[in-house]
Structure formats: C-alpha cells, structure tokens
Amino acid sequence: MTSGIFGTATSALLANQRALGTTGHNIANANTDGYSRQTVDFATREPFETGDGFIGTGVQVDAIRREYDRFIANSLTEAISAHAGQSELAGLAAEVDNLVADSGSGLNSALDGLFGAWQDLANDPTSMAARTALLSEAGTVASRFGGIDARLDELEARVQARVSTTVAEINETASSLADINREITLAQGGADGSPANDLLDERDRLVNRMGELVGITTHAGDDGMIDVFVGRGQPLVLGTDAMTLTAGDIRLDPGAPQVSVAGTDGTVDLTGLLDGGRLGALVEFGGRVLEPARNAIGRVAHGLVDAVNDQHRLGLDLDGNLGGDFFNPVADTVRVVPGSSNAGNAVIDATVTDVSALTTSDYRLTRSGGAYTVERLADGQTTDVSAAFGGGPPASVTVDGMQLSFNAGSLADGDRFEIQPTRNAAAAVAVALPDGRSIAAAGPIRSATDPANTGTAAVSQPEVASTANLPLSGSGGPIELVYDAAANQFDVNGGPGGTLAYDPATDSTGRSYTFPAYGEMSFTVSGTPADGDRLVIEDNTGGQGDNRNALAIAGIAGSGVLEGGNATLGRAYGSLVAEVATRTREARSAEAAQATRLDAARGRREEIAGVNLDEEAANLLRYQQAYQASARVVSVANELFDSLLQAVRG
C-alpha cells in the first residue's frame, strides 16, 4: 500500500519537476526571438484495480509541447515578407526621389539656368562675358546629367550586388531548412513522435528569415517536414532537398532572367514572379523605378542635345561660320546587347532619329518562327518588322523615333537583341564648343530692301530650317527678288530662280514664301512694290549683333521637344520627378501599412506563443506548491511506514 503512495508521490514530484524545468526554460527564453512558450501536459497514470475499485497511481507527463498556431505563424511570415519588401523599396526609391528633386543636384534649376543664359546672350550677343557665362551654364547642365546618371548607375550596381548577395543568402537559408527538416524527422522519430519544440522554433525562425529575403509559401507534410515554394509555386525546399537560385547580371545581359531556378524541366525565370521580400523589392525597384528614371533622364538628355544642336547648327558664330554641335551628339548612345544565347551572328545597330517620338521604354528585337518582332517592354506592344528584316541585311526600320539597322549576318530563330534607346544618353552629355566665339547666336541670312525702291514693299527677316545651300556665297550668292508689276510677280534671280506670284491687291498684308532647297528659308513679303523694286536675301556677313538664333534656342525651353511635341524638357523632367515621388510615396505608405500588419501579426503570435513573466511566476508558485505537497505525501507515507514498523517491533 505504501509503495502505491510512494509511487504516486514520486510521479507527482517528477512531473512537477518537469513542469518547473519547463517554466524555467520559458523564463530563460522570455526574450528569445521566435521562441514559443512551452507547456507541460499532465495526465493521470493508469489506475490500479482493486476490489474497492480503481486506485489512482499518480500523474505522468504526456507531452511537453509548444504553444503554436500554424495559421498565425504563416500570416506572420507573410507579414514579414511584405514589410521587408516595402521597406527595402521605400528606402531605395527615396534615394532616387531625393536625387532627382534636389535643387542642388536636380536638372530643373540647371535647365532654367541654361535657357536664361541663352536669353542673356540674346540680349547682348556680342558680349564675350555672356558667351562665357552661357558655356558655364551649359557645363553645369552637362555635369548635372552626368552626376544624376552616375548616382543612378552606382545605385543600379548596388542593387545588382544586393540581388546577388540576397540570392546567396536565400540559397544558404534553403539548405539550412533542408537540414533542419532532416534533424526534426530524426529527433521526433527517436522520441516516439514527441515534438522537437526548440528545433521547430528554429525552423520557424529560418522560414521567417527566408520570408524576409523573398516571398514564400510553405506546406507542412505529414512527416513533420515543411516544403517551401517561391514565385508561383516553384519549389525551393522539398523535404530534405534544397534547390539553388541563380542571379543573372542584367547590367551585362539585360534580357537574361534576373533570378532563375533550375527545375525538373529546365530553368525557370522567376524575375517577374517574385512577390515580396527583399529580393522581390530589388527586382521591382530596378524595373519600375530605377530603369524608368534613367531612361526618362536619358530621354530629356536626347531632347535637349538634339533640339539645341539642331537649332545651333542653323546659326552663325562670331566669326561668321555656321554653328557646329553645341553639345556632343548623343543619338548614337543607343545600347544594343545581343542575347547571351544567340545562335546567329547578326550585327544590329540603333540610332535615335526623332527625339519627339522616343519613349522611356526599353525594346527587344526577336526572331521567332521566322518573324521579326520589336517589342516595347514597358507595355508589351509589338511591331512586326519582318517586312524590313526578313530580306536580310542591309535593312533598317524605325520604331518610336529610333532607327534599327540590320547591318550584317543573320538572326537564328530564338535570337534576341536588347535595345536601350535612352539609358546611356545622360552620361554622354558634354559641351562640344571650344569657346564662346563659336556660339552661333546670329541667323545665317538676312533680307534687305533696295533704297532705290519706289514702292512700299517690305520683306521680313528670313527664317531657316536647314543649312542646305547655305551660306549663299557658296551657292550662287544673294537671292534677288525683282518685281514685275505687269505680271504681278517677283522674278527670282539667284537661288532657286523662277518667279513668285505677288498681287499687291490681295497680298499687301503679307504673303509667305519658302525656298526648300535654300535652307528651307521662309520669309514674308508685304506692301506694294513698284515695277523693278528689288528685295535681297543675302548672307548675314558681319552680323555679330544679330541674336535671332540665340532667341530661337532660348525658345526651346518653352517648346514641346518630347512626346510628339506635347512635353517641354522641363515638363518631361517634372513628370519624371512626380512619377518617382509617387512610387516612393506608394512604397512609403505601403511600408507603414505593412508595419501595422506586421505588428498585428506579431502581436497575435505573441498572444499565443509569447512568454509572460507574471504568468510564469504564477506557474512557478503553482508547480512549487504541488511539488512541496507531493514531498509532504512522501513524508506522510514515510511516517505511516515508520508507525507500522514500530507497531511490529512492539
């Protein structure tokens, strides 16, 4: 009988010891991240059957298990993933945001300065000081373009490096997960299926770590192992096997997958499939913020350089020579990268021919099933260029203001070329002029009326749109219009020759003419000429005080250079700033929202799994008391036994 009491008491001592030990473990891990509070499940031992009925035999520990809810754990992993992604994205986007909008490094103030300097030069075209100031403003614009581009390039390199290290971390974590899956199976198998609480916690920690790196889904198998999937269900960890992700360098091979995984049926491109986590954010940042921003800035560079150069070439410098390039041309900065797996040997070149039609997208030329297609990557719109390229080189085709030339070789089916029309333009902006004298502020030709004219005819100063046959001294000298009153026309001597109909009765308020072959010059004749009156259009020799070309260039600030004539340079840059700011704001508010969600998810997990020291203190007292009571039972049983012995000894 006493052995029964001893047995019962001892079982209670042991059970409460376990419980005290577990409480101690809980207290010890109160601040351990990812620790799940453990509880001891007590159960009565199998009773002893007597004639009086069943006599209890004490208590036993059924299991020590952790407080855990799979659903809550999963939603915490998701929240961690989403928050890590948005916070990475917000941080990176803010860098671009501050860069493009900062008045010290941003472009707007530099563009204002440049066009202001052109106005100042127009106000005082012979001043060397104004010319020097203009060159210095132009230098500022060039260095702003270069500076912004260098910072973005550096950011791109940083993002690329971070993609690589993140992929390496993911691979490492995946193999740790596979290992721990194995350990858990072994441990739980060896312990008759008792949960390996601390290993399970460790695995959850790894899963959350993985979630921070990349968006994942998990699946718990019956064997106690979990499988981890990325993207749209591509397996990353299957039981004790871990797959390996590969990071591609999009800077060297822009068309290659940025992240891929080797699956059972070939390599799977995960780039567009990643959602959440740091890796998802890095890929999204590159594709949605950084590249569009670089392209947009490059497009502004193309617009500025082209518009200013085109107009500048139509002017005369202080020495009476036609203007050269004001900025170094950037039309040939289009980058064409053949796909790394191309089988053909085609040589493809690209150049920008019409900046107003440029977009901020990248393009891809592919040959597939014998058809040649150019895809605009931003919106997936395709252009079939088979008609031009199908016949082989040499061939060229123009897509969105960019001319693609197929110069030599051939494309094999499946070959691709990545085309970045504007990405590299900003870095190439540089002032081409050697000195202020070569700034072409004057117009190339001027008009005059003959003082001997007896009529009232006047001729406007001609505007030119090209340099064809200019200067006139190289193409037959001044053009003279002599009025023939009888025929109501001007006889054109020199230049294109022929006659210009002019009837003073209807045209005296002004009639415009154009000589397309001569600088595309256009001018307006008004008034009433007398027979034999002469109007002359001549080279603007010595016209150093002329500011027409400077005014025309200053006017570029307000003219629609980009987007089919709808966007000024400042406006295009402004919309880039707004776009980056919007993305940043989105990421920032998403980060705040995700932080709240993460807080809530963590709170819910802690509600169940967290250690509360007050609760543990109470448990400590509870188990201590039970232990003391059981010890008392032992001592009572001992006394009973003693009294029995004394009775026997008599």
Binding site: Q119, G542, R602, A609, N612
Partner: protein, 401 residues
Amino acid sequence: MTRVSTSELFRQATSALLRQQSTMLETQQQLASGKRILSPADDPTGSAQVLGLTSAIESTKQYARNADLATSRLNQEETVLAAVGENLQRVRELTIQAANASQTDDTRAGIAAEIEQRLDELIDFANTRDANGEYLFAGYSSTDQPFTRTTAGVRYDGDQGQRFVALSADRQVAVGDSGFEVFVDVPGGNGTFEVDGDEANGGSGVIETGNVTDPALWVPDNYSVVFTAPDTFELRDGGGSVIAANVPYASDTAIDSIPGIEFAIEGEPVTGDRFTVSATGSRDLFSTYDELITALRTPTPTTAADAAFQTDMNRALTALDQGLGHVQEIRAEAGGRMNSVDTHRSINEKVRLDLESSRSGVEDIDYAAAISRFQQQLTAFQAAQASFSRIQDLSLFDFIR
C-alpha cells in the same frame, strides 16, 4: 482576454515611442524649413507643381531682366533720335534763313559751314555706340561702324536687321532700328515723286514740290516737262515719248497732266528749259545735307542760277520735312515699344507675384496648424513615456519573497 507576452509589451511600447519620435521629427523639420514638402514623396503632385512654378518664376525673372535691357536700349535710341530731330530742325531753320532773298553768296557760305558741322554731328549720332561698345544703328553688323563719310557721300555699311528681346514666351519686342531704317530709308521728294530743274535751264522757272491727288492713278516713272516755247511745254515719260504736247503754261498754276499728281512751275522759263518729275525711292539724310551744302556754296550770279538755287531750297525743305516726319515716326514707334515693354513688365511682375503665392500655397507650411500639431505630438509622446515607465515597474517577481 488578450494575453500579452512580456517581451511584446516592451517591443510595442518602444516601437510606439520610436514612431512618435519620428513624426515629431518630421513636424520639427517642417517647422525649421518652413516647407510642407520635405521630399517629393510627401506630395508628388505638389512637388511637380512646385518644379513647374519655380521654372515659371525663373522665367518671369528673366523676362524682367530682358525688359530692363529693352528699356535701356530704347531709351538710348530715343535720346539719340531726339537729338537727330533737333539737328534736322536747326538745319531746316538755317535752310529757310538761307532761302531768304536778302542773303548773299558769302552769308550762304557761312550757313553752309554751320550745316557742315550739323552733318558731322548727324554722322556722329548715326554712329552712336551703346554701353557695350556696339553700334546702335548698324542692324546686325553692330560691331562695325555703320556710317562712313566718303567723297561720294556717306556710305552705310550696316544691314537692315533688327534686334528683338523676349518679353514673354510669345511676345518679342524690337529694341532698336537699323541705321538703314532711321537715316537711309527716308522717303524722297514728297514721298511719291521728286521734282528738279535742269542744270542748264536758262529761265527763272522754279518748280514746286507738288502733291499726289489720286494715288491710284499715279504711274511711277521719270517724267519731264520740256518747254517748247516760253508759254508752252510738253510732257514726256521716262522713255522720252511725248504724252501731252502743247500744254499752255501759266506761272504758279497747277499742272495736272500727269495722272494722279499735280505740281506748279513759277517764273519765266525759256524755250528748252526742262524740269523733271520722277518717281522716288528713299533718300538718306546725309545726301540731303550734302546737296544743301553744295547748293549754298554755289554762287548765284544769274536769274537762272537763282532759280536753280530756289528749286534746290524747295527740294531741301521738302527733304528735311520728310526727314523730320520720318524721325518723329520712328521715335513714336520706339515710344510705343517702350510702353509695350512697361506694360509687359507690370504684367510680368503681377504674374510673378501670383506664381510665387501659388508656390507658397503648395509648398509652404501653415505655421499655426503645424505648431498645434507639434504640441499635440509632444503631449502624446510624453504621455507614452510616462505610462511606459509605470507599466514596466510591475512584475509579480517583485512580490515573491
């Protein structure tokens, strides 16, 4: 009941404190900078607006600078034109004085000497330079001296270009006139035709300036009046063909045989005397002066010479009047441009104020609201700090002895 874990209690309390600190810092930065938008992401639309507004403000400042420059150049032109007007006026007075019958060859030579001075002065005016050393009246060729005196008269080396300055995105104003426009392109004669007597005339006929009666009928040509007898003349056109023969002559009576115009001859011409009536182009002011000086220096020993002198005086007076009118007209135009510049300047100024107030509305902070927000945040932060320190004091372990 919600179970709270101890570490969660601390974590949440600290993260709440951190959050409050960061919003407080943001408000503090807004207060310190006076700007509502600290980074474009705070208000993407607003910051794009600010960029646009800033550019617009910069260009209004540029236009204001342009307007100042236009005003100063136009002022300078106006000053020179006023002096040119006075010069012409003085020469006109001298011409009237010289035409007076009481003058002798010697006194006329004296007057000629003064007009010679005036001519030098006029050439100086025409070669005026601005503050930067550019010639004001040279057209585009503003670095080369436009007017040079030669033995054949004063030569114009400039061109007919005109410099413009932008007052706004779509308004440009000329800030000067070429020397051609001011000094060379002065309408000759009465603006339509010019009269003269032949050098070899023997009679005392003096032809008057004449005027246009119907511009529509006037056919420009070089007509001549040839006296076939002291009381009859014929009219010839430029080709020499007689277009009206045997026209009776009466002194100081309008001759209207040429369609669209009329003129009169006064005095007693003799047979063979010729007068010309020619369609005229422009006539520069300098040659008017030169011709006047030559006429004044030519002695008038005979009635014929006297008649030639009177004709020259008539011609000179007409040309001077044309010159005065022409210079007045250009002054008026320059004045009009100055008005236009002033109008644009004040519009521009108003636009700039409007733009600045719009920009301020978008990007500047509302101090009253921001300060009260800051106060609120501070109170909340202090409350959080105080309650946190109270909560973390409580532990059951404190009571287990």
